[in-house]
């Protein structure tokens, strides 16, 4: 009865997850993970092939490393992309890119936690995963937009200040016509470069982010 309840709880979760026992063999492989990985629960149960959902070659998953208590290995396997949970003891989370999953690779965020019995002995461990590819792409877009702002909006301000200076110096009679010409030419070149930067950014964003809606794509493509 309890096992059936547990099976239902794991299966009804929309978050892909699996549970392994102390022997690293799969106890539960939920429906969300079946759909995500294409690997059926019936073929995974009782095996230690959980790595096949993420990697081409056999290697420990986050939950395998945690079960062995080799937390140092987490730092090596997920350098700079892991954290210890602030909510649950014996729980870790990590982020990694999987080039072999999906058409253009996939970013996954994992959590792994030990399961203990009433006496505190480890019975197994559970791992959940979340596809954060869209979030990572959004972060990349923000980085693009930040750079674009710095290299477009800000330089426009520089040109404005330069033109104000040129106007002031001209009014004060401190510049000869040739110098005014040189200064204005420089600002024209700056403006032309900003226009080119904008076009380059638009092109880069469109090329890198194929899921941009067509209406925006047309606008960005000029």
């Amino acid at each position: 009865m309890l096992a059936s309840w547990l099976q239902q709880i794991v299966d009804c979760s929309p978050i892909p997850q699996f549970v392994i026992g102390k022997d690293h063999r799969v106890k539960f492989w939920n429906k969300a993970l079946e759909r995500y990985s294409g690997l059926r629960a019936t073929e995974m149960a009782g095996t230690n092939r959980q790595w096949q959902a993420f990697y081409k070659e056999e290697r420990p998953t986050l939950v395998d490393v945690l079960l062995e208590g080799k937390t140092d290995e987490i730092t090596q396997l997920y350098e700079g992309r892991y954290n210890r949970s602030v909510l649950i003891e014996d729980a870790w989370e990590a982020t990694d890119f999987f080039p072999q999953i999906g058409k253009n690779g996939t970013w996954l965020h994992f959590t792994a936690a030990l399961i203990r019995d009433d006496t505190g002995d480890v019975m197994g461990a559970v791992e959940t995963l979340e596809d954060i590819t869209d979030l990572m792409k959004a972060e990349e877009l923000i980085a693009y937009m930040t750079e674009m702002t710095m290299r477009v909006a800000h330089p426009v301000g520089i040109i404005r200040e330069n033109l104000q200076d040129i106007a002031r110096l001209t009014r004060e009679g401190k510049l000869v016509p040739e110098e005014i010409g040189i200064l204005l030419d420089t600002q024209v070149r700056n403006a032309a470069q900003i226009q080119k930067n904008t076009e380059d950014f638009q092109k880069a964003v469109v090329e890198k982010h194929q899921e941009i809606p067509e209406a925006y794509r047309k606008f960005l493509s000029g």
Partner: protein
């Protein structure tokens, strides 16, 4: 005029990132050159905005001894096509984005002024952003700061406050000794 950098700091061959508001960056440039000159240093101005011929007159009108200032000018060639280098006074580079030529110019001018107490003033990182990506600017500033430390020369990088990519700003703060926000 508040002191932005003092003689002691320049004597320690320190490298600074000076941030100014868009409206005050030109005056900040002039104030810095006056303070560097009054501290007994020769200034090498790398200009990416105003040509040397105009700056030298503007400085003179502010009472700055032009004999104590040399220029690396990335504006004039691009505007008038050609201009001849004047050793110890001005060296022209073709374009603000030509970092190889700019790097060579820095090395050559430092050589010309060897034996003198020298401070380089780079005006400005913000204008460079029109022509170069943050990552290329970061690499170039890293190169220049290494060069300055090797040759035991003080340097000041001028930028408009809040005009830099946060990542670039973080990198620049690791290359320089002191960040001064004049805003």
């Amino acid at each position: 005029m508040p002191t932005i950098v003092n003689a002691d700091e320049l004597a320690q061959k320190r490298i600074f990132l000076v941030l100014a508001t868009p409206g005050s960056i030109r005056q900040c440039n002039i104030d810095l050159i006056r303070q560097i000159t009054e501290s007994g240093f020769h200034t090498i101005v790398i200009t990416t905005n105003f040509p040397y011929s105009i700056l030298v007159r503007l400085y003179a009108k502010q009472g700055i001894d032009s004999g104590k200032v040399s220029f690396i000018d990335a504006v004039t060639h691009n505007s008038v096509g050609s201009a001849k280098n004047i050793p110890g006074v001005v060296r022209f580079v073709n374009h603000p984005s030509d970092l190889t030529e700019m790097g060579i110019a820095v090395t050559e001018v430092l050589k010309e002024l060897s034996g003198k107490k020298v401070c380089i003033l780079y005006d400005s990182i913000s204008t460079m952003l029109i022509y170069l990506s943050s990552s290329n600017i970061s690499r170039f500033i890293h190169f220049v700061t290494n060069r300055l430390r090797l040759t035991d020369v003080s340097g000041i990088f001028l930028a408009v406050e809040k005009g830099l990519d946060p990542m670039l700003m973080t990198q620049l703060t690791t290359f320089v000794d002191t960040v001064i926000d004049t805003g």
